[in-house]
């Protein structure tokens, strides 16, 4: 059956309105990025001009990809269990909305703010580096391929984390447990980006392409799985 844009938009609007007033979620969206911003900022600002060469071997920017990985996982983990907790799941599922519309709407409502946060934090980092780091550091750090990788991998990673978070959210009755587990299962992804950041996995075009294609495939599968586990009956009766 055709997807209705209006219904998807209805879900997105509602989610974004609710998000703004949900202090737990706003807190998560602010604290997680800060945690991952502190280490690179400290590292870069303490570098002297002559030691900037170390940045040729490390890929500090890649480390920041933990933000678009973890923030959407935490937000998506709340998406369904949060509705169940508020008792709003049943009225929502009683409407003509199709599961794909609901999943898509909820995914977009996580994707958009997560992307915004990730890019803003990245921009902030770039500005800090440009303004406050020693001479040569900014040039060594902000090389085009890395900035490009940052821009491209941010949405790919965010999408993958959203599917993980959603699947977990549909399975859990307690939002805290769901959030913790979602962050936990996103850690392997963070591990991979961090290993690239610290040059354990070499950062080259082949790795980047492989990683990108892998994420595209995973995201396709993730969408399938997320809609499949979203079973009305189990969601309604499963909490007993």
């Amino acid at each position: 059956m055709r997807l209705s844009r209006r219904r998807v938009r209805g879900v997105v609007d509602k989610e974004l309105r609710d998000l703004r007033r949900n202090s737990n979620v706003v807190y998560t969206m602010l604290v997680l990025p800060l945690i991952f911003l502190v280490q690179p900022v400290v590292e870069v600002l303490t570098l002297s001009a002559h030691s900037a060469a170390v940045l040729r071997r490390e890929h500090t920017l890649t480390y920041l990809l933990a933000i678009p990985t973890l923030v959407p996982a935490a937000l998506a983990a709340y998406a369904i269990v949060g509705e169940r907790l508020q008792g709003t799941l049943e009225p929502l599922l009683s409407t003509p909305v199709q599961r794909r519309e609901l999943i898509l709407g909820k995914a977009l409502a996580v994707f958009l703010p997560s992307l915004a946060v990730a890019y803003v934090v990245f921009a902030l980092f770039v500005i800090i580096v440009e303004l406050f780091s020693a001479a040569g550091v900014a040039g060594a750090l902000l090389r085009t391929p890395y900035v490009l990788a940052q821009v491209i991998f941010t949405p790919l990673l965010a999408t993958w984390s959203i599917w993980l978070g959603m699947v977990i959210s549909a399975r859990f009755a307690d939002p805290r447990a769901a959030t913790q587990v979602a962050i936990l299962v996103s850690l392997p992804t963070v591990a991979i980006t961090s290993l690239i950041a610290f040059n354990v996995i070499p950062a080259n075009l082949r790795v980047a392409l492989g990683f990108g294609v892998g994420l595209l495939v995973l995201n396709r599968i993730g969408w399938r799985v997320a809609t499949a586990v979203f079973d009305r009956e189990r969601l309604i009766t499963g909490s007993r």
Partner: protein, 318 residues
């Protein structure tokens, strides 16, 4: 859909739902006509909510078949059925952090309601909340939340409106408001499927009621149910005990049985009270009795209900 107007609003045939070992409801059949207010009456755990969820395509039945608003109940028809109905669940389930208007706006999109702003204003004024549209749902009283939930269910002008215990947990004034709103629905010709465990509610609001406790016990107009279940009776009070009541009542036409109620009152059972009453009075006067009162003994739906619902406990005790 052809001929949808002539089809019943709900048609349920031998429907059952099992949760593991436990039957939530079993072998239920009934029909609800268009424009009817139909009561689904039973104690807690009788299977009312499960029936509403089944007909609302939230859960699948284990056996049997049904059609809802003219559409056969099946997984594939879920969207089509949900488009034609609305459910007000037991708890209102509003987004507490959103305003009344934003709650309704979301559902207007989900039902693809045309001209949503106007329709939202309409349903809010129907439930008397026109002035409260900007308030957060979390700040409203329970009764007002229930009204918002009702407004939400009316948004799409559903062909069948399911109300699951709409007054449970409300104070009498708030419950009365909801009753008035349901009567308003009837006047608009909306088909209402109302579950309740409150007898006076069913008796007051419903054209017909089904009484169930896992299985269907009885179904009919409230007055019919009374007649079906109890022989009607005439209660006669005399100034003093009759010397030989058996002789007085022996020859009465239409009398099906009698027994004394205390010293000087007698309960005369008959299917047709109006055929019995004049003869009974004449016979009593002829026997020299001073008749103090003659009245028809009425059963409330409560008697019917307890009788029907009680059966199960007896069965279980055996």
């Amino acid at each position: 859909m052809t001929g949808a107007a002539e089809q019943p609003a709900l048609s349920v045939r031998s429907l059952s739902k099992r949760f593991g070992e436990r039957m939530a409801y079993e072998q239920i059949s009934f029909e609800v006509g268009r424009g009817e207010v139909f009561g689904f009456l039973g104690p807690n755990g009788a299977g009312k909510t499960t029936m509403v969820r089944t007909l609302g395509t939230l859960i699948a039945p284990s056996a049997g078949s049904a059609s809802v608003a003219g559409v056969p109940l099946s997984e594939a028809n879920g969207v089509e059925i949900r488009r034609r109905i609305a459910i007000m669940p037991e708890s209102p389930g509003l987004y507490q952090r959103l305003s009344v208007r934003d709650n309704l706006a979301c559902f207007a999109d989900l039902y693809e309601v045309p001209a949503p702003a106007r329709r939202i204003a309409e349903v809010l004024s129907m439930v008397g909340l026109a002035e409260r549209a900007a308030e957060l749902c979390g700040a409203l009283s329970k009764g007002l939340r229930q009204r918002v939930a009702l407004a939400r269910a009316l948004l799409s002008e559903p062909q069948v409106l399911f109300l699951d215990e709409p007054t449970s947990g409300l104070d009498p004034a708030a419950a009365r408001d909801v009753h008035e709103l349901i009567e308003g629905m009837r006047e608009r010709g909306v088909t209402v499927f109302l579950t309740t465990h409150r007898l006076e509610e069913a008796e007051r609001l419903c054209d017909r009621v089904a009484i169930l406790n896992t299985t269907l016990r009885s179904i009919g107009r409230p007055a019919e149910l009374r007649d079906q279940l109890f022989t009607r009776a005439l209660l006669v009070r005399t100034a003093s005990a009759l010397a030989d009541p058996a002789a007085v009542f022996a020859s009465l036409p239409a009398l099906e049985g009698w027994h004394a109620q205390g010293d000087s009152a007698y309960l005369l059972e008959a299917a047709d009270i109006s055929a019995l009453a004049p003869h009974a009075v004449r016979a009593l006067v002829a026997a020299g009795a001073d008749v103090l009162a003659v009245e028809e003994r009425r059963h409330s739906l409560e008697d019917v209900y307890l009788e029907l619902v009680g059966e199960r406990r007896e069965e279980a005790a055996r």
